[in-house]
């Protein structure tokens, strides 16, 4: 195995592989940073170029691009409150407040180093655990997915800040929105009111872009100024952000593992990993009330998870030929073009290619993150740009991103509507995060519940892993309640 490791490494570091990787990295960063462009589009565009390449060269290009998409995503989340990718929406919650406080550099530094950490954890998980992971993957069924989604939904309470009631209302709204569309299980088109474009449900990207970034533009037109409020020096704290990641190494490790495990389960997706780890970070922190106001841990947790999740998604793809995510489905096609057949055979015959992927993921992330770190200071200048210049910049990219999601003009109307709604929500103390959380998880929860009931009836709750998750969920709900009761009784706050 060591020879395979070494062989993979040397092949990646030689041309043409290295050159192709260097070509893929900026493409991935830009695709990630621009809202509305997905990594899948990049893959679909690049794959035709890989015809005729050797496997390792082809993978250097594809993985070089794909691994850094999630590195670019948090950049726009932090700077403009506009998530570049769906999963990086969780980084808006604390990243943007940090930018508003003039700490954009620190947030960016933290996010970038978290990216490296997350991808290393994911890559190690992929390469080392593949032989052992089969039973683990097979142990998770719709029942477990349902409980995981419910657990995630309970995190709504954590991201609601001060207004629990309003947070729950918004969470409920998100769940209702998740129900919109043709329900595959019953075949009923719910809440579509005859509109065909609602058939597949509401699209996450236009909503989130409008909710977070669009509403900011309205704010900025209102009060002028720049993203940063007041006169603050920006850009000097990038290294602080780097240090933050090391300071929080235990959180990083936990989130990396959670993200990896979620990635192993096909169908859960990057958003789930981002929000579950965000909620976990908030829950395990001694000061959960600081989340949403600029706590750097809230930036680190999702940034780590969205990268380790990619490593996890590779596992079923390589081990079984079953794609772990939609991007992996596309990559499977690439495997075939390059002459590889994923599955146990590949692990035996082409072990060096597997290790090459391991190295590409890590090296591409390091290079990508380093490149951004170098310019981080200049990126933060965007936050002090005055509103007359930054507002059109944001608005154009918001609308562009929203339209490009599916070439549909109705998405723009949705973005505008949610910009207005988001602004109103901000003004009247309604937290916005629960909407995204429940929108993402609601569909997963209901679908898997229906499937579990169909498969096993109500006894699905007695499955071992499901039961454990159920207990965790109950604890997760009970704990803040218990804490609140203690506070009311005047007891000094029990350290978490």
């Amino acid at each position: 195995m060591l020879e395979a490791m070494w062989s993979g490494l040397t092949q990646v570091l030689s041309f043409p592989a290295l050159g192709l990787m260097l070509l893929g990295i900026p493409i991935g960063l830009i695709i990630g940073a621009i809202p509305g462009l997905g990594g899948n589009l990049g893959l679909a565009l690049l794959i035709p170029f890989t015809y005729g390449m050797s496997p390792i060269a082809g993978f250097s290009l594809l993985f070089g691009m794909h691994s850094v998409v999630q590195t670019g995503g948090p950049m726009s989340s932090i700077l403009f409150n506009a998530p570049g990718t769906g999963p990086s929406a969780a980084d808006c919650l604390d990243g943007f407040p940090m930018a508003q406080q003039g700490k954009a550099g620190r947030a960016i530094g933290a996010a970038l180093v978290s990216s490296i950490a997350g991808s290393i954890i994911g890559a190690i998980g992929m390469a080392i655990l593949i032989p052992f992971v089969r039973p683990l993957i097979l142990a998770f069924s719709p029942a477990e997915f349902f409980m995981m989604a419910i657990l995630g939904i309970t995190f709504i309470a954590l991201v609601s800040g001060n207004s629990l009631l309003k947070g729950l209302l918004i969470g409920g709204l998100g769940l209702m929105m998740a129900f919109i569309g043709m329900d595959p299980i019953t075949g009923v088109a719910r809440f579509t009111y005859g509109q065909l474009w609602l058939f597949d449900g509401v699209k996450l990207v236009p909503i989130v872009i409008g909710l977070f970034a669009g509403s900011e533009t309205i704010s900025m037109i209102l009060k002028g100024g720049s993203i940063v409020e007041g006169d603050v020096q920006v850009g000097n704290d990038v290294f602080d952000g780097v240090k933050d990641v090391f300071r929080n190494w235990w959180l990083v490790l936990r989130c990396g593992i959670i993200g990896y495990v979620i990635g192993l389960m096909p169908g859960l997706g990057g958003e789930v990993s981002a929000w579950v780890t965000y909620g976990h970070a908030a829950q395990s922190s001694k000061h959960p009330e600081t989340f949403g106001k600029g706590n750097v841990q809230g930036v680190i947790a999702p940034a780590v998870a969205i990268h380790s999740k990619e490593g996890g998604a590779l596992v079923p793809t390589l081990a079984f030929g079953v794609p772990g995510s939609s991007a992996m489905a596309i990559l499977l096609g690439a495997f075939l073009v390059l002459g590889l057949q994923p599955g146990p055979a590949m692990l035996k015959e082409h072990l060096d290619v597997v290790w090459a992927m391991f190295w590409v993921v890590i090296i591409a992330n390091i290079i990508g993150a380093m490149a951004l770190l170098a310019v981080a200071k200049y990126l933060t200048l965007l936050t002090v740009l005055r509103s007359s210049l930054i507002v059109p910049f944001i608005m154009v990219f918001v609308m562009l991103g929203s339209y490009l999601t599916s070439n549909s003009i109705t998405d723009l109307a949705i973005t505008v509507a949610f910009s207005i709604i988001g602004y109103a929500m901000k003004k009247f103390d309604y937290p916005r995060a629960p909407l995204v959380l429940s929108l993402v998880l609601g569909g997963i929860a209901e679908k898997n519940l229906q499937m579990s009931l169909q498969l096993w009836g109500a006894s699905f709750l007695t499955r071992p892993i499901t039961f454990v998750l159920l207990i965790l969920t109950i604890l997760s709900v009970a704990y803040p309640v218990w804490r609140a009761i203690n506070k009311k009784n005047g007891k000094p706050e029990v350290a978490a």
């Binding site: 299980i185 009111y193 009060k223 006169d231 723009l412 009247f428």
Partner: protein
Amino acid sequence: MKYLTSGRMLFSALFVVVFAVLIVTATGYNPKARTFPLIVAVPVFLGALANLVVDFRIVQRGEKPKKEKSETKSPITVAEATPAEPAKKKEKLSGTAKRRRELLGIAWLIGYVLAITFLGFPIATIGYMVVFIHFFNRESWKLTIIYTAIMWAFIWIAFVYFLKSNLYPGLIFEWLGI
């Protein structure tokens, strides 16, 4: 009177109405399909009513929501998040002037999207940027043109040239048959 015009009350009331509509719609579906929507919508509807009451009290008090006292000092220094004190010399709008300005912000968004719909993305974007930066914010022509040109160059190279995306051509052009 202030209850009727208060945005806060309107929003809370809207919440209640929306969920009432959702509940009514949901009951029209077959039993299996309506279970979960109802399980969610009914409690939320009740919560929305409670919320309406809460917001009513807030408006009564003069739009200053009771802030939770979070005495615990956090190790991570969080800047006092709400910059309520107008210590800086930024203009502090209030009352109707503030509302007008808010509506203005909304109008810009709507106007931009309308422009995209009718004139197509390229023209709308360039037009919007020029009008916003120069006419509305009174920046110099030089700055406006350079900034717009750079942004447009980036968009064009990345999206039209490389990605060959379909930037929306605009309804007017469709109607004119171009």
